[in-house]
């Protein structure tokens, strides 16, 4: 296990992605993640994260660093950062929400949920299925019944239904 290095009196941790790449991060910032916080309390300084790939981990670290320096005056700055942060493909957002859930970063989960909600608002069921990769485990009869029950929600009306999965 790597030993912690005390840089400027700030305790550092090492996060290891599923692809075995290591990233150094201040403990005070990393503990925004409930999961990491628990491991720190158990005296870990090298934190293996087998469920998070490198690409996603880099983004998460970026998020935590930005939100770690939250003060009263840079609220707007952080808002702008969040807005830009969610401008990613659905694939990337999916990886992020799974990682955020695994790492228990509540604010990031909220941000990502909102991003998903905003983007799938007018999407057709088919498009949503593709985006999230959800297999249909209904029998045709079951599916028809569920559809009937919620017919009111499926009406097209004058609203534009978006069938694209992007």
């Amino acid at each position: 296990m790597a030993s912690s290095s005390k840089t400027e009196q700030k305790k550092m941790l090492i996060l290891k992605s599923s692809e075995e790449e290591e990233f150094e991060i201040e403990e005070s910032i990393a503990v925004q993640s409930g999961t990491i916080k628990n491991m720190v309390e158990d005296d870990f300084t090298l934190i293996p994260l087998p469920n998070v790939d490198t690409e996603t981990l880099i983004k998460i670290i970026k998020y935590m660093k930005k939100h770690g320096e939250k003060t009263k005056s840079n609220e707007k700055d952080i808002e702008e950062f969040d807005k830009e942060f969610v401008k990613k493909s659905f694939t990337e957002l999916k990886e992020l929400v799974l990682a955020a859930n695994y790492l228990h970063i509540t604010s990031l989960i909220d941000l990502l949920c909102q991003a998903f909600a905003d983007r799938i608002k007018n999407k057709s069921v088919k498009a949503i299925r593709e985006i999230f990769g959800i297999p249909n485990d209904f029998t045709p009869e079951e599916e028809a019944e569920v559809y009937e029950q919620h017919k009111w929600a499926h009406e097209e009306g004058k609203e534009h239904i978006d069938h694209s999965a992007y």
């Binding site: 999916k94 929400v97 989960i109 069921v125 990769g133 919620h150 929600a153 499926h154 009306g157």
Partner: protein, 520 residues
């Protein structure tokens, strides 16, 4: 890159804990969330147990040729709401959030709404948004049961009449956020609300009738924000909540006569619109509220002289205080100053402000401008030598274009400083971009950047980079600009406004002598 296939191995989203799925679905309208029930059994279960029902503002309405009108099948829609609530009751899911806009009681019987409210109160609802669709001068009634919703945190009502329950008091002991629009309520009800809503943090009243006087009691210890907008009968406001931080008061046609704010030095934000506050009132307020960071006074037609000395003030806006003559500011941390007025520009003495100060000026000029205006304007602009940026929106005639013959009697106010100008161009009337630039170069010879914004978000920035930093020689005109060709570079930053850039380019291309001219 991973392939996107609809494959059971890939579907990890559905395996997220149900609270997260619920949180996500709770951000959607009920219609969108309900549709997801056909995706898979997991999502069917997630919808069926979803405690957040956002039927929304459009549930009873249809869009026809760009207008929203009431749907014909009200009964069907009522039935859907009934069913949805009944299903949850059957499976013991307590509805936490409910949002719906309903037709008014003469188009749809109010008994449905009353019934839903009773069910929701029994379900221990936390957030309730209920609006009446048609905004007319009538108010719909509410069932008494609403007032015993002890778990309610957020209540947003529109178009109802609030009447004191006969059989019990108001029991909103958990209410944190109360928003009433187009509501009828009287002073007694407000009194009772103040007594019972001990957790209230935010209060917002818009277009409410029935109140001539509003007393917000000192018992509201948690109250931080009060927002009062256009209460047509309101004449007196007395806010005694001791830890108030944000107050927004917008009167209707200057009806509001008396505004009393007696919190204990906690006020941070104050916005006043169309109230006849006096110089004395403002002076007292500033003394009593030293923590004020944000002050905006709009349409305060009785103000004549303002003097502010404050370490905390960061934002100041003065709009349409048409009788204002003198403004004196000693505000070392002021980062934002906004002034909106007509030809009667007040005299400004900016004794201290932050070097990050951004100034926003909006002038509505209708009369012909004389040398007096330009003289006053120059003195006004002279205050901003240390400022970071000046934004100008000049409606009407050539407010910023100083006629050449008048320049002889004036001193360029921003000589020697590297100002950043930001001009909103499309409202300049009959003068051209060249005229404006010419005038600006006279006003502010060592100009640093000039951004101009034309309609539909076209904007472009010119950055002036001076190779030698000395203030030797200033640019009195575009002609002199060319003379300094060897020393200066002009960078045209990428902009959307191709027309304007083309104008400038043409002028600059006049002499290849100009040398280094880069398009970035």
């Amino acid at each position: 890159m991973k392939e996107q296939r609809v494959d059971e191995v890939e579907d990890q989203i559905s395996k997220l804990p149900e609270p997260i799925l619920h949180h996500f679905m709770g951000l959607l309208l009920a219609k969108d969330a309900a549709r997801m029930s056909t995706l898979s059994k997991t999502w069917y279960a997630a919808w069926s147990s979803l405690p957040y029902l956002n039927f929304g503002d459009r549930f009873f309405y249809r869009e026809v040729r760009g207008r929203w009108i009431l749907s014909e099948n009200i009964q069907e829609l009522v039935h859907i709401v009934d069913q949805t609530l009944a299903n949850r009751k059957k499976h013991k899911i307590s509805v936490q959030k409910f949002w719906l806009k309903v037709p008014s009681s003469y188009r749809m019987s109010s008994s449905y709404v009353h019934n839903w409210i009773k069910i929701l109160v029994t379900s221990n609802i936390k957030e309730l948004i209920l609006k009446v669709g048609e905004s007319d001068s009538s108010f719909d009634s509410l069932p008494e049961e609403l007032f015993v919703a002890e778990g309610l945190n957020i209540l947003n009502l529109r178009g109802f009449k609030l009447e004191l329950p006969l059989h019990h008091g108001i029991k909103f002991s958990s209410l944190r956020n109360l928003r009433l629009t187009d509501t009828y309520l009287d002073e007694k009800l407000v009194q009772d609300l103040c007594a019972s809503c001990v957790c209230l943090e935010k209060l917002r009243l818009s277009c409410c009738r029935g109140l001539a006087s509003l007393q917000i009691a000192a018992s509201l210890l948690k109250l931080k924000t009060v927002w009062l907008c256009c209460l047509p009968e309101l004449q007196i406001v007395d806010i005694a909540a001791p830890y108030l931080e944000n107050v927004y008061i917008e009167s209707q046609l200057w009806n509001l006569q008396v505004v009393k704010i007696t919190c204990s030095k906690s006020l941070k934000t104050l916005y006043i619109v169309d109230v006849y506050v006096t110089d004395g009132w403002l002076k007292d307020l500033l003394v009593n509220q030293p923590k004020l960071e944000c002050l905006s006074l709009s349409g305060c037609l009785k103000l004549q002289a303002i003097k502010i000395s404050s370490d905390r003030l960061k934002y100041l806006a003065l709009s349409w205080c048409l009788e204002l003559i003198d403004v004196e500011l000693e505000t070392p941390n002021l980062t934002h100053f906004r002034c909106e007025c007509d030809e009667n520009l007040p005299t400004l003495k900016l004794m201290k402000a932050s070097v990050f100060l951004v100034v926003e000026l909006e002038f509505s000029l209708t009369n012909i401008l004389d040398s007096h205006w330009y003289s006053v304007l120059m003195k006004f602009l002279g205050n901003f030598k240390q400022s970071k940026a000046i934004k100008l929106d000049c409606c009407g005639k050539n407010g910023i274009v100083i006629p050449k013959h008048m320049r002889e009697n004036l001193v360029p106010p921003l000589y020697g400083t590297n100002t950043n100008w930001h001009i909103i161009f499309n409202t300049f009337g009959d003068c051209s971009l060249m005229d404006i630039l010419d005038s600006l170069l006279w006003i502010s010879p060592q100009i640093d950047t000039l951004t101009f914004v034309r309609e539909s978000n076209l904007n472009s920035t010119l950055k002036f980079i001076y190779e030698d930093a000395s203030a030797e020689g200033c640019l009195n005109s575009w002609n002199e600009l060319f003379d300094y060709r060897r020393r200066k570079e002009l960078h045209l930053l990428a902009g959307d406004d191709e027309e304007a850039i083309a104008d400038i380019e043409k002028l600059l291309m006049v002499s290849l002598l100009f040398g280094a001219f880069k398009e970035v």
